[in-house]
Amino acid sequence: MSILVNKDTRVVVQGLTGKEGMFHAEQMIAYGTNVVAGVTPGKGGQSVLGVPVFNTVSEAVKQTGANVSLVFVPAAFAADSACEAADAGVDLVVVISEHIPVMDMIRAKAFLNARGVKMVGPNCPGIITPGECKIGIQPGYIHKPGTVGLVSRSGTLTYEVVHQLTSAGLGQSTCIGIGGDPIIGLNFVQLLELFRNDPGTEAVCLIGEIGGDAEEKAAAVVAAGYPKPVFGFVAGLTAPPGKRMGHAGAIISGSKGRAQDKLAAMEAAGITVVRALGEFGATVAKTLK
């Protein structure tokens, strides 16, 4: 079992004909993902990697029954692409593109919310249900099917943790990189709820970093009662006080975004906190076995 994506997921890749899009779509297909369509305006009718290309997502969905979109277009057009996918009726939009302006994301997120469409990202590695479906840029081979769910705000840090879990003999149910941008799609809290109800997930790992208050909110969910063991890590414990955080925004959220506060909130909620990243896999393995 898994959350959000599985072997039946049908993926449309927006930006399939670009260099990055094509490279990663090929990797996804090799992993076994059902990539059923591509979208590049003006290139409708072509075929790339054996996948039909359409001018619009709406057409791609009608013709192929795609239900998840992967957005691989340049930042300036990414918010528009996410909205197009939502309007076409997919259930989930995965946005890999980075450097999308915040104002664009505020508008796109409101557009998606109004249609009940979920988003993963932007600026993230994507989502993978090992052995079934990989949607994103992750190295597939480090994953292994299993029962540990993983949610992370970072890219290569996610790979590091997955690699440690797999090396410790622990497979994963679904791994989601939620991205580190100010405005993101699915967050720790929403994914904790999805994992709560997934019978195929026995434990959840939360990989956070400094900034924002996502970890504190996740800790509150666990503190209120969570049926599965949760493990946490926060990158930036020794980072010097943030150079780039506007503090007035933090006043409203009530959080300073410091790693110490996040770890303390996690510990108080009963989350098993790992401070030294090198110990993560071993700690999870010891607790679960």
Binding site: Q138, Y159, G212, A248, G278
Partner: protein, 389 residues
Amino acid sequence: MNVHEYQAKELMAQFGVPVPKGGLAQTTEEAVDVARGLSGDVFVVKAQIHAGGRGKGGGVKVCRNLDEVKDAAASILGMHLVTHQTGPDGKLVHKVWVEEGTDIARELYVAVVLDRGAERLAVMASPSGGMDIEKVAEETPELIFFSRMEPGQPLWDFQCRQLLFGCGLDAGQVRQGTKMLQALVTMAMAKDATLVEINPLAVTGEGNLIALDGKINFDDSALRRNPDIAALKDPTETDPLELQATELGLNYIRLDGNVGTMVNGAGLAMATMDVVNMAGARAANFLDVGGGANEEMIGKGFEIILTDPNVQAILINIFGGILRCDVLAGGVVAAAKKIDLNVPLVVRLEGTNVAEGRKILEESGLAFEVAASMSEAAAKVAAVLGGQK
């Protein structure tokens, strides 16, 4: 991206926010000329650096005549202004802003901020202006008012009324303040600002509102579509190494330790820094060469790290991902040979073809320490440094 007070005020004025008349000066003569062109008999000379707390550090002076303006400009220009935000070395002042003095009856605080949690902009106001707003939030949170905008909706008048009557303004001032807040929101949306702050916003003796300071934070991701904003960047405000790194496409932040770190991906880079520090060494920098590291980026990374004279050892931590480790190892070896590396190097590689990659490092003839895990990498770095003492 941050801008100077004078740039923030000029931009706010373009959107209809009242600001004191003034001008920029880079010499004492220019400062006097600017003051001569202003009306009134009180002038304020203000150091232009990207940091708060300038007044306390001696970077803001109120002057009663042109001689005082001259003296103030002479003392501020060229000084290393130290505030709670500059670090102990302070910042060299290249420019001053000279403006007409304002008859201040009260000082408020207003801001437009990105509320990440609510995924929208919010407006804030406080009757406790002229103070560090974080301190106000801590000590008297009841004196901070905010109202969130609905995406796709304007900032409604009633939202402004709630905030501004809350600050104790009268009806006429609330009307002025409403226009001002709406102008700030329009500006934030038009120019992709994620923080716009006026602190203090003065109520003058005549009862009018005027912005005495301005701080704006722009979204770096949107600079491409706002060339007028990108042009406001002051390169002297950035650490020269960080500036060079940005030009090379690297994400580099200089720290005060002696272990240079080079990592692919920001989260892993931060975690690597943590591991180094927890092992008893001190990271000299944060350096993210990008998720898909390649030989070219590694070469550039070496270049930047070694420009810092404090670096006594380097730790490279690369998670290969889709890129193959043998290719990356070849890149590290080539880059190290090219620059004639003369400090100990610990390399931790993981990912596809890791065995081949480590073999290339070990057989390179270069004095690499190869580590199999993050913990081992940090321990080796600490050991290498310990051995040098």
